[in-house]
């Protein structure tokens, strides 16, 4: 701190004593020497309500429709519900709305989930992450205004994805009930990346409501 205070004085002295000299710009002033440090949590806070939620609301389709189209014609599903600016080699990530009944819950794991039956056949159609530990970067990958090339490197890009999940957990998921979830209704706005395995599609919510006990 005391060092910092001394700099202007020092600079003043140097300036006075070298008045005849040509002043050259200091290199540190050129390329954003005091650019703010990367703060993904703050970035997310600034865009969450203003951009993320409106984008998902406008882009999301009903889960059953999205999932059916994703199976038969991924490119068409991508054009409609996906992020057209995604990395060429990445799989599509789709924005979805999911409404239905919770038929199973795993709240033992820190990566807690509920399985939701959307079509009323009694069988789960999708698995929804309810935190606090969350997997993947589906929220990030669904947003067309977020590009990998805008970040310095993979780590910053990844931290941003994690910050989105953390924000959803902090503001929405941590407030959801954890007990006696089976039989309740669930209403989700979020995103998912279809997997190749036999596991249920894993939806990451940006908004979530769980109804009262039946």
């Amino acid at each position: 701190m005391s060092n910092k205070l001394n700099w202007p004085t020092l600079a003043g002295m140097v300036g006075l004593s070298l008045t005849a000299c040509k002043i050259l710009p200091t290199p540190s002033g050129e390329n954003g020497g005091n650019a703010p440090a990367f703060n993904p949590d703050k970035m997310v806070e600034e865009i969450w309500a203003a951009k993320v939620i409106p984008y998902l609301q406008q882009k999301a389709g009903p889960f059953a429709e999205v999932h059916a189209l994703a199976k038969t014609d991924p490119a068409a599903a991508g054009a409609k519900y996906g992020n057209p600016k995604k990395q060429a080699n990445s799989p599509w990530t789709f924005a979805v709305r999911l409404e239905g009944k919770i038929v199973a819950a795993n709240t033992q794991s820190r990566a807690a989930t509920v399985d939701v039956d959307a079509d009323g056949d009694g069988k789960a159609d999708a698995r929804v992450q309810i935190g606090p530990a969350m997997r993947g970067t589906a929220l990030r990958d669904s947003l067309d205004f977020i590009q990998f090339n805008d970040f310095t490197n993979q780590i910053d890009f990844a931290q941003f994805g994690k910050a989105l999940n953390a924000h959803a957990d902090k503001t929405v998921l941590s407030k959801l009930p954890r007990e006696a979830l089976e039989g309740r209704t669930a209403k989700i706005l979020g995103a998912y990346t279809p997997g190749s395995g036999q596991d249920l599609p894993l939806v990451t919510p940006a908004e979530a409501e769980i109804g009262p006990k039946p």
């Binding site: 990395q87 060429a88 080699n89 990445s90 799989p91 794991s109 820190r110 990566a111 606090p132 530990a133 997997r135 993947g136 970067t137 590009q147 990998f148 090339n149 490197n153 993979q154 780590i155 890009f157 990844a158 994690k162 190749s196 395995g197």
Partner: protein, 313 residues
Amino acid sequence: MKLTRRMTLAAFAGMLALGTAAPAYAADLIAIITPSHDNPFFKAEAVGAEAKAKELGYETLVLVHDDDASKQSQLIDTAIGRGAKAIILDNAGADATVAAVQKAKDAGVPSFLIDREINATGVAVAQIVSNNYQGAQLGAQEFVKLMGEKGNYVELVGKESDTNAGIRSKGYHDVIDEYPDLKMVAQQSANWSQTEAYSKMESILQANPDIKGVISGNDTMAMGAWAALEAAGRKDVIVVGFDGSNDVRDSIKAGGIKATVLQPAYAQAQMAVEQADAFIKNKKSPAEEKQLMDCVLINGDNAAKLETFALTN
């Protein structure tokens, strides 16, 4: 200094001019520079790139820099000197490589990077890298599941100069650290080396006999760790690697190592050559310089489909 540089450039330009004046039947050359082929991952890259280059009618110059930045610089000089039309490069250091790639660019030779990023954009034409962070998260999630979300574990970290060592470690911890009952009792670098991982694992095991799992920054270190655990009669320890090598595939099938994460090395190298070809023939650059390729979790369910860093259907 500046004068010498100009003269060198003029000399290069002269050589390039000679190159173009050469008879038309001489095929264009693509240089393929990677770390040592001792690690099958880098070998798969070189083989994949070479096969694609030949298929597209190029001659190839395959070189290894052994993760030595000054050797890499010499090899790039060689590629420029031989009149290469493009360089496919898995580089020897995110910072040290920037100048070498710039040197090639100044001499009119475009570089197409694979596997590892460099800390600059606008120097290489393309940087096609595995999404190491996404892959590390896949590996860590599987590790957490196998560990039952609790217990003591060890992390083996890769070579410090390689950005991927740090990215993978960060990806691992972003997942694992969310589980307070998982405790890291040792974290050491074994520099991507199998023999080093073996000896490090031996001593870690002596100091921490109560470990339940080992998460490793790559497959060669996972193989070394597994050999040490096996020799100590500790086949109960859960080991997870990264790369998707045939060695680890065989270990998974035999019930040894539990999982790894496949980086599509072969496909990545081929894609780099395709982009180089488009650039050479039509001056067409890829839409984005930095391109990420997703990794795939390999465990007992799909190990049988893995062959030379590619999944068959």
